[in-house]
Each structure stands twice: as C-alpha cells, then as structure tokens.
C-alpha cells in the first residue's frame, strides 16, 4: 500500500498535480507511520520459525534414544526448556520488541512439551495423551500474560481444543467431559477481551474471533454423554448465543468476515434446523428418555440464560432496534423441541416452517438492503430445505423435477429483478 502511494507521488509531481512540499509531507507521514509499527512480517516469521524448531525438537526427542544414559537424556529434557526460558527472560528484562517476545514464547511453549515428553519416556510414566497435553497447557498458559504473547495464546486455544477432543471424543472407550477445557478458556479469555478493547479491528484479533468460535463449536459435542437428543438443544442454544454475541457493537461494527460469531451462529442454526427437518430424527428422539438432571441439561440451561441475557443487552444498547428473527430462533427452538418431544409429527412440521420463515426473512433483508450476498443466502436456505424434503417424502419424480426447476428459476428471477430495481434507483438519483 505504502510503496504504491509513493510510486503514485512521482507521477503526480511530474504532472504538477501536487507541489513538492505536499509530496514530501505525504512521504514523511508514511515513513513515520511505518516506523511506529514493528515489522509484522518479521514477527510472523519469528513465530513460525520458533514453532517449527520447537516441534522439530519434540520429534527428535520422540525417537527415544536408547544409547544415551538416563543422565544424558535428562540433560536433554531440560536443555531446550532452559534455553527458551533464558531467551524469554532476556526479552522481558530488556523490554525487547514484540517479535522477540512472540518468538521466544512460542519456542518456550514447545520446549515445555518436549521436556515433559522426554521425562515421560525415560520413566515410562503412564497417562494418556490428554493428561500429558493438560500438564503442558497449564505450564504454558501464564506465558500469554508475562510475555503478552498472541502466538502463545493462539497455541493454547488450539492445544486446549486438541486436549478436549482427545478426552471427550474418545470413541470406543470411556468418554469424559473435558471440564478443564472451560478452566483453560477462562484463563486465556482475559487476554482476548483486552485485545478486543485495545485493537478490535486488528487482523490478529479477527483470527482470535475465529479460533474461539470454532474451538467452542468443536468442543461442545464432547459434553454430550447419554442424552444425545439434548445435544441438539445444546448446539441450538450455543448458536443463539453466538448470533446474539455477534450483534454486540464490538463485533457488529466490524466487517462481516471478521464477525465469526454472527456467521457461525447463523450458519449453525440453519444446518441444525435442516438436520431436524427430517421426520426420522424426531421419531428417534421421541423414544429417548430425556434426563432432566444431566450435564447436557445444565449446559443447555446455562447457554440459554447467557443467550437471553445477550439478546436483552443487544436490544437495550441499540437505539432503534430492528427486528431480527435470527436473534430469537433459540427461544423458538425450545418451544419446538418441547412440542416435538410430545408429538414428533408436529416437531417436524414446525421445524420446516421455521427454516422456511428464516429463509424468507433473509431474502427480505437482502432485498431491502440491496445486498446480493444476503439475498442469495436466503434463497440457499429455502432451496436446501426443499432439497432435503426430497429424501423423506414420496413425491413423484415429475413433481420433484418441477420443484427443482421452480427453485432454479426463482434464483434467476429474484436476482434479476433486484438488479433491475437497483439500476432504476441509481438512475433516479
């Protein structure tokens, strides 16, 4: 960007568009701006380099060198750790730049993993992968704050997700809910909140938006134990919470692609409702006994309360709140779920009506605001629902064919009319 502007300056000078003074002012302004910012690219390469070296060391140690004595092995277990600690300590004490802190923090994080891995090998310490990951994460977590390191914070989220999946999605053997995952998140979130306050529009902050949203969506499933049907409620509440979180000014003032919570909340709700639009799912659930005193129920209730709180907050903080059906879907879902458990036929019908209404609602928003992406998202919701219906109804092939053609034509026509209307409006202006 900067070099582009500086190149333009010479052209503008040659054609006498701007004076020499203005040109030198502009170039010195950009010069000063770039001096203020640390070299981001250098930081990224520093972190990547440290991560690769750290992982490399873990792999080399994982070879488990038989020829070395226990003493030599122990020495190598501590060597990377002490090197990492020394460099990190140096960068704190000398108040080195962010590049130093991020890189040394990343290296130290992996050195901790290498160290406890090697000790585990030497003494054949029992314990599966999840226990090992948990110790590693706990020892690495404080580095986020002492080094003020975004890279370590990202690593902690990724490893916490890994830990939770390892423990919770343990197919075949005993599944355990990874409650400590929540503790790790609680430990890491203050750093994220601070980032949202200080630099909500930074690229790294949007990476955090996505990491947290994805991690929570992935991990929530590990808390489903026996009451799998309540799993749907858990996810519906989570997506409701996400959507309403995305409506809070910190997120809603950002570009849509950075607002992970809104996007995942909206898409997740639709996918979930599409799954539940099948009659057979409701039929299966009908025969399930739902235990009220279960962890699934507790989590659903907690998420429900949080989502409702956020909904009220976002309505209160907006001056002229517009009605948005997506913000209320989680409330409607609870009603549909209760009805559907009593009568599975009604559950199916209500879900289909809900998906269809959401689709129409999105189309309307898109048409009103002349946003083609939103309009087509709405059309996609409606057509996805129609496509799904082809799997569980006994419609004739001719009728299905006609419906497909109708949906396709609908896409063309609605887009065409909107384009036309937009042109007319522009001409009037």
């Amino acid at each position: 960007m900067k070099s582009k502007i500086l190149n333009e300056l010479t052209e503008l000078l040659e054609h006498n568009v701007i004076s020499k003074d203005v040109a030198s002012d502009i170039s010195s302004y950009y010069q000063a701006k770039s001096d203020e910012q640390p070299n981001r690219l250098f930081t990224v390469f520093g972190v990547l380099g440290s991560a690769l070296v750290g992982l490399g060391i873990i792999l080399i140690l994982a070879h488990n060198w038989d020829n070395f004595s226990i003493l030599v092995k122990t020495f190598f277990a501590f060597l990377p750790l002490i090197i990492g600690q020394t460099i990190s300590g140096y960068s704190i004490l000398k108040n080195k730049g962010q590049t130093w802190k991020e890189s040394s923090g990343t290296f130290l994080f992996f050195a901790i993993g290498a160290s406890i891995a090697l000790v585990s090998q030497i003494y054949h310490i029992p314990g599966d992968l999840s226990e090992y990951l948990f110790t590693w994460i706990l020892l690495g977590l404080p580095l986020i704050y002492v080094l003020n390191s975004k890279a370590v914070s990202m690593l902690i989220i990724v490893f916490a997700t890994y830990y939770a999946c390892e423990l919770g999605y343990n197919f075949g053997t005993v599944n355990k809910a990874p409650w400590f995952y929540l503790a790790i998140l609680l430990g890491a979130i203050p750093f994220y909140i601070n980032l949202l306050r200080k630099s909500p529009n930074a690229n790294t902050t949007s990476i955090f938006n996505w990491l947290y949203a994805l991690s929570i969506v992935i991990v929530l499933g590990t808390f489903i134990d026996y009451n799998w049907s309540l799993g749907f409620v858990m996810y519906a509440m989570l997506f409701g919470l996400f959507y309403n979180l995305g409506k809070i000014s910190v997120y809603s003032n950002q570009q849509l692609r950075r607002n992970s919570f809104l996007l995942i909340g909206s898409l997740g709700t639709i996918v979930l409702l599409l799954i539940l639009s099948f009659n057979m799912i409701w039929k299966e659930m009908h025969y399930e006994l739902i235990s009220v005193y279960s962890q699934e129920m507790i989590i659903s209730v907690v998420l429900f309360i949080c989502a409702t709180g956020l909904l009220l907050y976002s309505k209160k903080s907006q001056k002229s709140p517009k009605f948005n059906l997506f913000q209320y879907v989680f409330l409607l879902f609870v009603i549909v779920f209760v009805i559907g458990n009593g009568n599975y036929g009604l559950g199916t019908i209500f879900t289909n009506v809900l998906v269809f209404t959401l689709g129409v609602f999105v189309v309307k928003i898109g048409a009103d605001s002349f946003r083609f992406s939103v309009l087509n998202y709405g059309l996609l919701i409606i057509s996805a629902m129609i496509v799904c219906r082809f799997f569980d109804t006994d419609m004739s092939f001719v009728l299905r064919g006609i419906l497909f053609v109708a949906v396709g034509l609908g896409f063309f026509l609605i887009n065409y009319f909107m384009l036309k209307k937009q042109k007319e409006l522009k001409q009037k202006l």
């Binding site: 704190i92 000790v119 054949h124 029992p126 002492v146 355990k176």
Partner: protein, 192 residues
C-alpha cells in the same frame, strides 16, 4: 505493570516449568530406589504417541477381580486400588481390589475401571503402568520377538514387566522374556 514485576512473575512461571519435570523425575527415582519390585505377567503390542514417540502397550494378566466386598457405585473410568501379593514363582498376583485405601501395609497400585458387571460383581480394570516407551525402530521388533517366543507354546517362556511399587505409585523398569531384558533379544536379533 513494571518490567521488573512482570519479570518476577516470569521467574515464578519458570520455576514451575522446571519444578514439574524435576518432580516427575525425583518421584520416579525414589520409587525405583526404595520401592518393592514386582514381576507382572504381560503381553506387549506397539502403538505410538504423536509427542512422546513409540511405545509398547502392555496387557497385564491381572485385569479383573471379584468385587463382592465393594460398594456398587463403581463406574467405568473410575480409579480403584489393586492390592498385590506374590505367587510361589515370584510373580505378582492379585490380592484384592478396593475403592478406598485400606488400613494395611500391603503394596497397592492404581487401576482404571473398564467395566463393572453389577450382577456378577466382576470388575474389569487396566493397570496404569501400561506404556513402555522404546526407541522408534525397536518397538515393532519388540512386539515381534514377544510373539515369536509366545508361539512356541512352551510353558517355560515367560514375559513379564519389572515394576517398582511404593505407596500406590508404580514405575515400570523393563520388560523381560525368560529373565532377560527385551533389549537383549532386540540386539541379538539385530546382530543375526
């Protein structure tokens, strides 16, 4: 916050990071030096761990017990205590299982419950020390060697793990086939 304060907190973190592996080492060394040694009959197979490398999983012969005396609130995943005894040939054998610590001098180790049958009151469990880490290219041969010796159907061939036990903690020392370390057989195989 001042740099020096952050640095002091960092020092505490550093000490913790050093303390955890050091404590792991010192605890194990203590058990190896002062613990009682037991021979657990076993069968090895080799899987691997992404961070800690190759190991052989040991399936111990001690893997189930009658739990008549125990209360019925045992679930899979629970930890129970397995009290040990020695048979006439010197191998470890099961004395009893318990959910809580008994008032006895007898050695015990921890185990993870895999299943519990309420009707037969039989509990299946897995002893905790079931990973023996080996050099990358030796884990598979170790398993093959074990299979070779086991196939001979010779009752005199015995595979066992030497384990040091102290106050409920156990450290796996080595795997033996007929009183020789598995490393001896791997080297013999490599030399042939």
């Amino acid at each position: 916050m001042k740099t020096i304060h952050i640095f002091l907190i960092f020092i505490v973190v550093v000490l913790l990071q050093l303390f955890v592996p050091a404590k792991m080492i010192l605890d194990r060394e203590d058990i190896l030096k002062t613990g009682t040694q037991y021979k657990f009959k076993t069968q090895p197979v080799d899987p691997n761990d992404p961070f800690r490398g190759k190991y052989v999983t040991l399936n111990y012969e001690i893997d189930s017990a009658d739990a008549v005396a125990m209360d019925s609130t045992i679930h899979s995943g629970d930890r129970i205590l397995v009290y040990l005894d020695t048979d006439s040939l010197g191998y470890a054998k099961l004395h009893s299982v318990s959910k809580f610590k008994k008032n006895t001098e007898r050695d015990y180790v921890e185990a993870k419950v895999q299943s519990y049958n309420i009707n037969t009151k039989k509990v299946n469990f897995q002893l905790e020390f079931n990973r023996y880490y080996m050099e990358e290219f030796k884990a598979k041969p170790a398993e093959d060697i074990y299979r070779k010796y086991n196939l001979k159907q010779d009752s005199t061939d015995n595979t066992y793990a030497m384990v040091a036990v102290k106050e409920g903690e156990a450290v796996l020392k080595d795997i033996y086939i007929n009183d020789k370390s598995i490393h001896y057989y791997i080297e013999k195989e490599a030399n042939q």
